[in-house]
Amino acid sequence: MPVGLVVVSHSRALADAAVELARGMLPGREQSIEVAAGDVDGGLGTDATAIADAVTAADSGDGVVVLMDLGSAVLSAETALELLDDDVRERVVLSPAPLVEGLVGAAVTAAAGADRDRVAAEALRGLAPKQAHLSG
């Protein structure tokens, strides 16, 4: 099974749009991308219990890479790790990559069957093409 992905954002709309953009790079391919975004009332916010549930849903045993926006999304993702069972937690990587670029890189790599560490590394490389282009 491919590595699972989780998108954590303050905004449900932002997360869904980022997933739509990433899925556009994966025509006809299966890839688990779970979303944990927004507060309980649908407003802006993050919820560590929702993130823990999303990780559990995305986990097929081969690991999960979590991409997040900023601020409390990072704190909530770390808190979510505390809520998970030890065996699941060991399979999770929280990626410091920028959300959109990282997700696209991770999705393409995961759908191609790469392992978790490779997917996480590719997410982290997400800014490289833009940086290379604009530095010239």
Binding site: D39, V40, G45, D47, A48, T49, G71, L75, S76, T79
Partner: protein, 208 residues
């Protein structure tokens, strides 16, 4: 006895104080943050009290754990994972029904907030009030003072720490975006966590 009932009384008193001071917390947060601290924490603590009412008294640690998960789920902003981590770690460390066990649990909660926020004292955060409160509590209990007196000293230390955040420049969280302009305002997290310690002093008085 610091039992489940006593801890529930603490959480209730904190919720009451947060509700009462909600506008003041939001006003502090509008000066240097995003003006939602009072509303967010009030929503979370109202939900925590409701969750505690819905479950049977049970184990003391379960009271803290339920409070933690409810805050994590309902607060939304950074104070959700931070307060949630405080109660979660405190629940994990609570190993008895006396003042010493409470002090150990609160210290574990403080350490959890330090680890979660990657902050230290002087960064203009809730730690500037919670840290001195933990120190005062430990010191008073070690000196053989009764819990009631020790919690009173902790509340005073928290309030002094809160007031001392005013001239500081924020180095963590949203307020840090303001740089030097964050000076001159009390930190909203230090203000709300002072209410948490004051609530303990009120609700646990006489339960030594």
């Amino acid at each position: 006895m610091v039992d489940a009932e006593a801890l529930t009384a603490w959480v209730r008193e904190f919720a009451r104080l947060v509700h009462e001071r909600r506008d003041e917390l939001t006003r502090l947060d509008s000066a240097i943050g995003d003006a939602d601290h009072g509303a967010n924490l009030d929503r979370g603590m109202t939900a925590a009290v409701a969750a505690l009412e819905a479950q049977s008294a049970g184990e003391p640690a379960a009271v803290l754990k339920t409070t933690a998960t409810t805050l994590i789920k309902t607060v939304g902003g950074a104070s959700g994972p931070l307060y949630g981590t405080f109660f979660l770690r405190a629940a994990g460390a609570l190993d008895g029904p006396d003042g010493a066990a409470l002090a150990k649990a609160v210290r574990a909660g403080y350490d959890g907030v330090v680890a979660r926020g990657k902050a230290e004292r002087g960064d203009k955060t809730m730690l500037d009030a919670l840290g001195p409160a933990c120190d005062a509590l430990d010191e008073a209990l070690t000196a053989g003072k009764p819990l009631e007196e020790a919690l009173g000293a902790a509340a005073q230390a928290a309030a002094a720490g809160r007031d001392a955040t005013a001239p500081l420049v924020a180095r963590k969280g949203r307020a840090s975006y303001l740089g030097e302009r964050s000076a001159g305002h009390v930190d909203p997290g230090a203000a709300s966590v002072t209410l948490l310690v004051e609530a303990a002093a009120t609700a646990l008085a006489g339960r030594g």
